[in-house]
C-alpha cells in the first residue's frame, strides 16, 4: 500500500479575496420569491422540478396502462400515446433531472460545501430560476393548445417532428417545445456559469480543489459539460424552428408529405441527429456525474469510511466528462450515417466503461471494512449501485456497435436507459433528499415511511425494468402504441406487460408516501440538530441550522483537511470536520492542489 503524503496541516493561505458584502433583502418578496439567496433558489428549483416530475410520472402511468392493457383506455390513442412519451421523456431528462441536480442540489450545496456565503452572481442566479420557470410554463402550456403537445419523441427527429403525420408537427406543439428548450438553455446558462465560477473563485481558505467533496466535483464537472453541450441543442432548436416557421431546409431534404411534394431541398436529417446527440450523450452524464458525486458522499458518510481512492475518483469524473463528448454517435449506429464511424464510436464508448467501472469499484471498496449504518440515504445509495451497474452493463451491449443492431430501437433500449439514467439517478436524488433534508429544514424525515418508500421504489423499479430487457431482446420495438398481432410475440409477453404496468402503478403510488413525508416532517419531524449524520463536510458545520442568509455568521470557515476524515485512527470521534484544525493524516491535495 502506498501511503498518501502528509499534508501541510494547519498552514492555510491568506484569503485572495476579502469577504464580500451580501445583498440584503428588504421585503418578504425579495426574500422568498425574487430571492437572490442560493438556498431559496435551490428550494424553488427543487419544488418546480419535483412537480414536473409528478406530471411526468402520471404520464408514465398512462403509457403503461396502454402497454399493459391495450385498448382498454380508449382515450390513449396513438396520438395521445406519442404525446405522452415525448413529454414524459423530455420532462424527465431535462426539466426534472437536470434542473434538480444542478439548479436544486447545485444551488444548495455548492456555496455551503465550498464555504462561500452565496453564489458569485446572486442576481443572475435568481434570473436563472425564473427563466427556468418560464420554460416550464411554456412546456406545460402545450397541453392546452389546439393540437396538443408534440408527439415527435423526445429526440424530436426531423423531418417527422415538423410534418403533418406527427401530433403537433404542423400545430403549435413542436413550436412550444423548441421555444421552451431554448428558454431553458438560456436559464441554465445563467445558473451554470454561476456554479462553475463559484467553485473556481469562492472557495473558503484552505479548500483546495483536491479537498473538495466529490458532490461538488460532480456538480461542477456536470455544469461545465452542460455549458458546452446545451449550445448544440440550442442551435438545433433554432434551425428546426426556422424550418418549421420560415420554411428553410436545414433538416429537410426534397420530400413528399402525405403524397404531396414539399417545397424543400437539400437539408440533412442526419445533421440534426448529430447536433442532438452531441448534446444528448453528454446530457446523460450531466445527470449521472452529480449523482456519482453525491452517492460517493452518501456512502462515505454512512459507512463512516473515507471514500476509497479519492484522487482516482476525481480523475475518473473528469475523464468521463471529457470522453462523453466523443461518443455521441453510438446513438446513431443504425441511423444510416457512414457505417465506418461505427468503429470509432464503439471504441470510445467502450473505453468510457473503464473510468466508470473504477468509480463502481471505489464505491464498493469504500463499503469494504467500513462501519455501515443502513440509514435510508445509505439504502438508496446501495440501490443506486445495483441499478447503475445493471444499466451500465447493458450499455456495453448497446455501445458495441454490432450488438446494437438487433437491440437498437427496441424495449431493450428503454429498459437500459431507464435503469441507468432514470432509476439510478432518481434513487440518488431520493437518498440525497433524505440526507440533506435535516440541513434544509432542521428536521429529520420519518424513517419508517422512508424505508417503505425505499423498498417499494427500489424493488419495484427493478421489477419494472429488468424483465423489460427481454421483451426488447425478443424484438418488440420501442415507441409502439400497440404490439397487437405481431406474429413473433407470444401471449406470455402480454402477460409480462400487464405485470410491469401493475408494478409501475404501485411504484408510482409509493411516491405519494414520499411527498407526504416531505410535508409532514416539516412540522412533525424529529429535531435534527446541525449535524445529525456526524458528517465532515462544511455544510454540516454551519453555526445555525437551517443556515441563514450568508451561511456562516461573522467568520467564513477555514478548511484544514479533505472531506473524508472518517474513522481516523487515534481521533476521539469517528469524523473530523473539514474546518477542524489539527493534523490531517491524509491530505491528498498536498501534492496536487
Amino acid at each position: 500500500m502506498v501511503d498518501v503524503p502528509l499534508g501541510s496541516a494547519g498552514v492555510v493561505a491568506a484569503p485572495d479575496v476579502e469577504d464580500v458584502e451580501l445583498y440584503h433583502p428588504h421585503s418578504w418578496v425579495t426574500k422568498y420569491v425574487f430571492s437572490q439567496d442560493a438556498k431559496v433558489i435551490a428550494i424553488q428549483y427543487s419544488f418546480v422540478a419535483l412537480s414536473v416530475g409528478l406530471i411526468a410520472l402520471v404520464l408514465s402511468w398512462l403509457m403503461r396502462l396502454q402497454l399493459g392493457f391495450p385498448g382498454v383506455f380508449s382515450f390513449i390513442d396513438a396520438n395521445a400515446y406519442y404525446q405522452f412519451i415525448t413529454m414524459h421523456g423530455m420532462m424527465m431528462v431535462v426539466y426534472v433531472l437536470t434542473a434538480l441536480f444542478l439548479g436544486g442540489f447545485g444551488n444548495y450545496l455548492i456555496p455551503l460545501m465550498v464555504g462561500a456565503r452565496d453564489m458569485v452572481f446572486p442576481y443572475v442566479n435568481m434570473l436563472s430560476f425564473w427563466v427556468y420557470f418560464l420554460a416550464v410554463l411554456i412546456l406545460v402550456a402545450s397541453f392546452f393548445i389546439p393540437g396538443g403537445p408534440t408527439g415527435a419523441g423526445w429526440t424530436l427527429y426531423p423531418p417527422q417532428a415538423i410534418t403533418t403525420g406527427t401530433p403537433g408537427g404542423q400545430d403549435w406543439g413542436i413550436i412550444l417545445m423548441l421555444m421552451s428548450l431554448m428558454v431553458f438553455i438560456i436559464g441554465f446558462t445563467m445558473g451554470g456559469l454561476n456554479y462553475v465560477v463559484t467553485v473556481l473563485q469562492a472557495r473558503a481558505r484552505g479548500m483546495t480543489l483536491m479537498r473538495m467533496p466529490l458532490t461538488v466535483w460532480g456538480i461542477f464537472t456536470a455544469s461545465f459539460m452542460a455549458l458546452l453541450a446545451f449550445p448544440a441543442l440550442f442551435v438545433g432548436a433554432v434551425m428546426m424552428l426556422f424550418d418549421r416557421v420560415l420554411g428553410t431546409s436545414f433538416f429537410m431534404p426534397a420530400m413528399v408529405e402525405m403524397g404531396q411534394p414539399l417545397d424543400r431541398n437539400g437539408g440533412s436529417p442526419l445533421l440534426f441527429q448529430h447536433l442532438f446527440w452531441f448534446f444528448g450523450h453528454p446530457e446523460v452524464y450531466i445527470v449521472a456525474l452529480p449523482a456519482f458525486g453525491i452517492v460517493s458522499d452518501l456512502i462515505s458518510t454512512h459507512a463512516r469510511r473515507n471514500i476509497f481512492g479519492y484522487r482516482m475518483m476525481v480523475w475518473a469524473l473528469l475523464a468521463i466528462g471529457a470522453l462523453s463528448f466523443i461518443v455521441w454517435a453510438h446513438h446513431m449506429y443504425v441511423s444510416g450515417m457512414n457505417p465506418y464511424f461505427g468503429f470509432f464510436f464503439a471504441t470510445t464508448t467502450l473505453i468510457i466503461a473503464v473510468p466508470t467501472a473504477i468509480k463502481v469499484y471505489n464505491w464498493i471498496l469504500t463499503l469494504w471494512r467500513g462501519d455501515i449504518h443502513l440509514n435510508v440515504p445509505m439504502l438508496f445509495a446501495l440501490a443506486f449501485i445495483v441499478t447503475f451497474v445493471n444499466g451500465g452493463l447493458t450499455g456495453l451491449f448497446l455501445g458495441n456497435v454490432v450488438v446494437d443492431v438487433p437491440l437498437s430501437d427496441t424495449m431493450f433500449v428503454v429498459a437500459h436507459f431507464h435503469m441507468v439514467m432514470g432509476v439510478a439517478p432518481i434513487l440518488v436524488i431520493f437518498g440525497a433528499i433524505y440526507h440533506w433534508y435535516p440541513k434544509v429544514t432542521g428536521r429529520m424525515l420519518n424513517d419508517a415511511l422512508g424505508k417503505l418508500h425505499f423498498w417499494v421504489t427500489f424493488l419495484g423499479a427493478y421489477a419494472i425494468f429488468f424483465p423489460m430487457h427481454y421483451l426488447g431482446l425478443m424484438g418488440i420495438p420501442r415507441r409502439y402504441h400497440d404490439i397487437a398481432d405481431m406474429a413473433f410475440v407470444p401471449p406470455s409477453a402480454h402477460t409480462l406487460n400487464a405485470f410491469i404496468t401493475i408494478v409501475a402503478l404501485i411504484v408510482g403510488a409509493a411516491q405519494l408516501a414520499f411527498v407526504f413525508n416531505l410535508f409532514w416532517s416539516l412540522r412533525h419531524g424529529r429535531n435534527s440538530g446541525g449535524n445529525p449524520w456526524r458528517a465532515t463536510t462544511l455544510e454540516w458545520q454551519t453555526p445555525e441550522t437551517p443556515p441563514p442568509h450568508g451561511n456562516w455568521g461573522n467568520d467564513l470557515p477555514v478548511v484544514y483537511r479533505w472531506a473524508y476524515d472518517y474513522s481516523v485512527p487515534g481521533a476521539d470521534q469517528d469524523f473530523l470536520p473539514q474546518n477542524q484544525p489539527g493534523p490531517s493524516r491524509a491530505a491528498p491535495g498536498a501534492g496536487h492542489g
Partner: protein, 275 residues
Amino acid sequence: MAVALILVLVAVGSVVFHLVSPWWWTPIASNWRYIDNTIIITFWITGAVFVAVILFMAYCVYRFRHQAGRQAHYEPENKRLEWWLTIVTGVGVAAMLAPGLFVWQQFITVPDDATDIEVFGQQWQWSFRLPGPDGQLATSDTRLISPDNPLGLNRDDPKSHDDVVIEGGELHLPVNRPIKALLRSPDVLHNFYVPEMRAKMDLVPGQISYIWFTPTRTGTFEILCAELCGVGHPQMRGKVIVQEESEYQAWLQEKVATSFARLTPDTRNGAVVPD
C-alpha cells in the same frame, strides 16, 4: 442482514430469470449468427461482473454492518489494487469490443454477389423494388414521385423498364442468396427491421442507406418500422417471404410478366403491381 439477503436475492434472481424466462430472441433466419454469438459473450461477461459486484456488496453490508465498537478502516488509497482493477476491466472490455468490431466489419462489407433490391418506406407502408432480368435497379428521385410513379423511378433510365415494383406488400426473397437492401424514404425517417434477420437500418429521406443479409431459412417474417415516423408508426408492417430458389423464380417471372404488361402505354399505373 435483511438488506444483504435481499441484495443476494436480486443478483441470484436476475440470473435465474435470465435462465428460465420464456422471453428470448426469435429463432434466427439469416447469416448473422455472429451477432447472436457476440451477444452471448457479452451476456456472460457482464453477467459475471454484475453478480460479482452485487455479491461483494452484499458481503460488505453483512460483514461490516454497524455494531457497537466497530471502527472503519482508514485507508485513502491503494494504488496497486486500483491499477489491477483498471487493467482487468480493460481486458474484459477489449474481449467484448474485439469480436464486436470484427463482426461489424463483416456487417458493413457487402459481398460482391449480393443482389440489389430496394426497400421503400413511406408513411405508413412498405414498398419494394426488385431488379428484373437485367439484375440492376434504375435510378430514382423523390421529385419524380407522382400517382403514376409512386417510387419516383427515373423512366429515362433504360434499366427502369424491367424493375419490378411491389407497392404496399410482401417482399419475396430467395433463400441462401445474399441480399443488399437499398433503403429509401420519400418523407420521414423509418427503419427496416426484421427481428429474425437481426437486421435493422434507418431509411433517411435525401439519401440511400443499405443493409445486407442472407436469409438462411424459408418462411414468412414480419417487417416492422423501428424508427418513430408519426402516428401510423406501429401499423407500418410488412412481410418478408423467403422461398426456395425455384418457387422464388416462378413468383418473379409472374411479376415481371405483369410488370411488362403494365408498362404498355394504356396502363394508368405504370410499373405498379398491386399486390
